[in-house]
Amino acid sequence: MSPHDHPNDHPADRSDDQHNHDWTDEAFVADWLARRDGHAERRHRQFAIVRAVIAKRPDQEFRYLNLAAGPGELDEMLLERFPGAVATLVDVSLPLLGAARQRLERFDHRVEYVHASLATQDWAGGVGSGFDFAISTNSLHHLAAPERVGALYRETFALLGHGGILLNLDRVRPEDAMLAPLAEWASRDPDAGLEGASGSFPAMLPVSQHLTFLRKAGFDDAEVLWKDLSHALLFAVRDHFHMPEAAHSTNAGHSHAH
């Protein structure tokens, strides 16, 4: 399998055109989705890690943005777990957004869909602001250049509210290029469940570069919450991080929407 053709990934912009990926084509997208099914277990585990670090009680209301959301699998997990969540899905592919709409139909008005490429800053005009979370999974390494990742972090920072959190689960490369073959080697042991073939993508960065970009974008705290040989979950918070009150605590009043 070509590293550019890994079915766990989908692009954040149109930069995959040179690999004959037509994300406007229903048939291509249907085929891509079918091939993706073979990796469902690993993907589900990654998404569960993302879900686990969302510090919200099920009864809390919050809004999140999913950048390069693809067919909405992560969103299905989040909207199920958090009945107070409202999602805005951004993707460059109308067929993928169509697949997401089908998958998320039962969540009705809790989901908004925006068709946009993350290749330029224009995408930000299509979504609201004041989000509680901005999330991206397995996508930003497809951007055309490392600098674009840094710019995207800045654009996302501006759309987050006070205490807003960015979560980017993405392919990363080792700090030392000499270690790159180690992932491939380690993936041969099926018991470890590690993914090899991290390949080479224009914006596949070491975690240190991500952390630098995040801090330059204005985030106060930037951390690596989880990592294996090929992927990392990056976490950054605007202003200050707030943990929710424990689920058993009660409030004399009641929360409501405006």
């Binding site: 109308l94 169509g98 224009d122 609201g128 409501h256 929407a257 405006h258």
Partner: protein
């Protein structure tokens, strides 16, 4: 949309505060009084709160029927208006909309001679009423919007006769290009979304005959335009033989060297060229490029004014159903191929703006917009006798009062008479509504002079005790109404209201007072026309229809 930053900021304590605001935000009620039923209230407190809620909240059931070139449909909606502000500064805002029922999308039926089959449409309306078990008594107001083919003279007359008079509360508003663009922007949710997100959005409503554009900044529509690009301009049979060719598509084809002829087969490549050319026209308007020759020839209005650059697109109208893959049937027109070309343009960067996918209101945007747009509530009433309501089809006169000079009785009287002439009306023949607009504050307006001027301009209305309606932009309605009735002593009934925005050539339907909020729902029938149908001819059609109804 919620955006809590902390629980505490958005919580009530034990005491419910009625109309309230948070952190300096807009004053509001909660959607339903029932939200607070869990609180520990005595029966008296509960009753008092219910009354308080009912005094500040008005629910109206409206019907929107959109009859377009290609498709028609009907929708029942419930609109919740809330009265906010205090004393003389009360105004109404639409705070909620609920779709109660919507009909399936049906193809607008045509007879063999090319005219619209009014009988089939009547059946749609009747079946829709049956489906929701509604009678016109349940409906506060309704709007029939005629667009495209339905606007043509004979069709409009027939439809007005069949539909507008079927129930007394219906409006027949035939939309012009600009109004259609406004309705679609409202109905698609673009206006609400723009206000909520503080974004500048461009709604592109692609219908059967035309495409309408509306630029909306922070909920305010800044500019509208229309171009003759529409799916139903060309219709083929199953073997691709051409059954219908409208002039704009013929013109587009000619510019590409393609000669369209009825009965001949349309080649795939020619169809692709036509929709590609149209997509380029739409992309150019979206991007704000200087119009090319084809765009100039297809524009139905002045070019879209783009003082503010849009940040994102929304699509509505029938073709949006294909763009967003909610519809895939080939209806023998250009809907499917045009949408495919637009999807490609969105995918390949020919159209670069982000596009927001609407919540299932694409093809229904106009009908939803109609039901929202046409209903307003009159507040701070003066009414001499509640029995004067309801009133239907009251023509609106807008006297041009000159605020740069001190007001005289003659000046007021002349301004009203000029308005009567412009509207081709004889005063006294029917009730009229004077829409009084004074650009300065109320201190600079001599109400006694205004009242005497009205008296001088409408002698027959006054002598024959014909009801008189006044709308004012300033908080003077109670004082002016009282002055006319009691000081001037006119014998007929008088209704004076604030909070209603109506324009010359509009007609008003005024419903009975809603208690205990003491407001009157007023439906505005905006007769703005295009496509060869002037205001006067539709007004005459409406009057003919009403006479025919009375005769029956």
């Amino acid at each position: 949309m919620t955006n809590p930053t902390s629980d505490e900021q958005h919580s009530h304590g034990a005491a419910f505060v009625g109309l309230h605001s948070h952190d300096g935000g807009a004053p509001h009620w909660h959607d339903e009084f029932g939200e607070h039923l869990a609180e520990d209230l005595t029966e008296e407190e509960f009753a008092a709160r219910q009354l308080d809620w009912r005094m500040h909240n008005v629910q109206l059931v409206t019907v929107g029927i959109d009859i377009g070139s290609a498709t028609s449909h009907l929708m029942f909606s419930k609109i919740l208006l809330q009265l906010v502000g205090e004393d003389r500064d009360v105004h109404s805002v639409v705070v909620g909309r609920e779709i109660l029922w919507q009909s399936p999308i049906m193809m607008t039926p045509y007879l063999e001679d090319g005219s619209i089959d009014a009988g089939a449409l009547r059946e749609l309306v009747a079946l829709s009423y049956l489906a929701v078990d509604a009678t016109d008594l349940d409906i506060d107001s309704g709007a029939i919007i005629l667009t495209g083919e339905a606007l043509k003279r004979e069709n409009a007359r027939t439809l007005v006769e069949v539909l507008a008079t079927q129930t007394g509360k219906f409006v027949c508003a035939t939309a012009g290009h600009h109004l259609e663009a406004v309705l679609a922007a409202n109905g698609s949710g673009t206006v609400a979304r723009s206000r909520r997100d503080e974004r500048t959005l461009l709604n592109v409503d692609i219908g059967g005959g035309t495409t309408k554009f509306a630029i909306v900044r922070d909920g305010e529509i800044l500019a509208t335009a229309a171009v003759a690009v529409g799916a139903r301009q060309l219709v083929k049979d199953e073997s691709r033989r051409l059954l219908r060719i409208d002039e704009p598509v013929r013109q587009t084809a000619a510019s590409l060297g393609i000669d369209l002829r009825l009965g001949e087969v349309l080649a795939d490549k020619d169809e692709a060229s036509i929709v590609s050319a149209w997509t380029k026209v739409l992309a150019g308007i979206v991007a704000g490029r200087a119009p090319d020759a084809l765009t100039r020839s297809l524009m139905l209005t002045d070019p879209l004014v783009r003082d503010v650059a849009p940040q994102a697109l929304t699509f509505s109208g029938g073709v949006s159903e294909y763009i967003y893959s909610r519809e895939s049937r080939d209806l023998g027109d250009l809907g499917l191929p045009l949408a495919a070309a637009i999807r490609r343009a969105l995918g390949n960067g020919q159209i670069t703006l982000p596009s927001i996918i609407d919540p299932n209101l694409g093809i229904r945007a106009t009908a939803v917009g109609a039901s929202l747009f046409t209903v307003q509530v009159g507040i701070n009433l003066f009414i001499s006798d509640e029995a004067m309501l309801p009133l239907a089809n009251v023509p609106v006169l807008v006297p041009r009062l000159d605020a740069s000079h001190s007001l005289s009785i003659e000046a007021v009287s002349d301004a009203i008479r000029d308005a009567l002439v412009r509207s081709d009306l004889e005063e006294g023949e029917q009730p009229v509504a004077l829409a009084l607009f004074w650009p300065e504050d109320e201190e600079s307006l001599d109400l006694a002079t205004l009242a005497r001027g009205i008296q001088a301009a409408l002698p027959r209305t006054i002598d024959e005790a014909v009801p008189l309606v006044l709308t004012t932009n300033l908080p003077i309605s109670r004082e002016l109404g009282s002055m006319l009735k009691h000081d001037v002593g006119i014998p007929g009934d008088v209704l004076a209201v604030e909070g209603v925005s109506a324009a010359e050539f509009d007609f008003l339907d005024v419903a009975p007072i809603v208690h205990p909020s003491e407001v009157v729902p007023i439906t505005i029938k905006s007769l703005l026309f295009a496509g060869g149908l002037d205001r006067r001819s539709v007004k005459l059609a409406l009057q003919d229809a009403l006479q025919a109804q009375r005769a029956r």
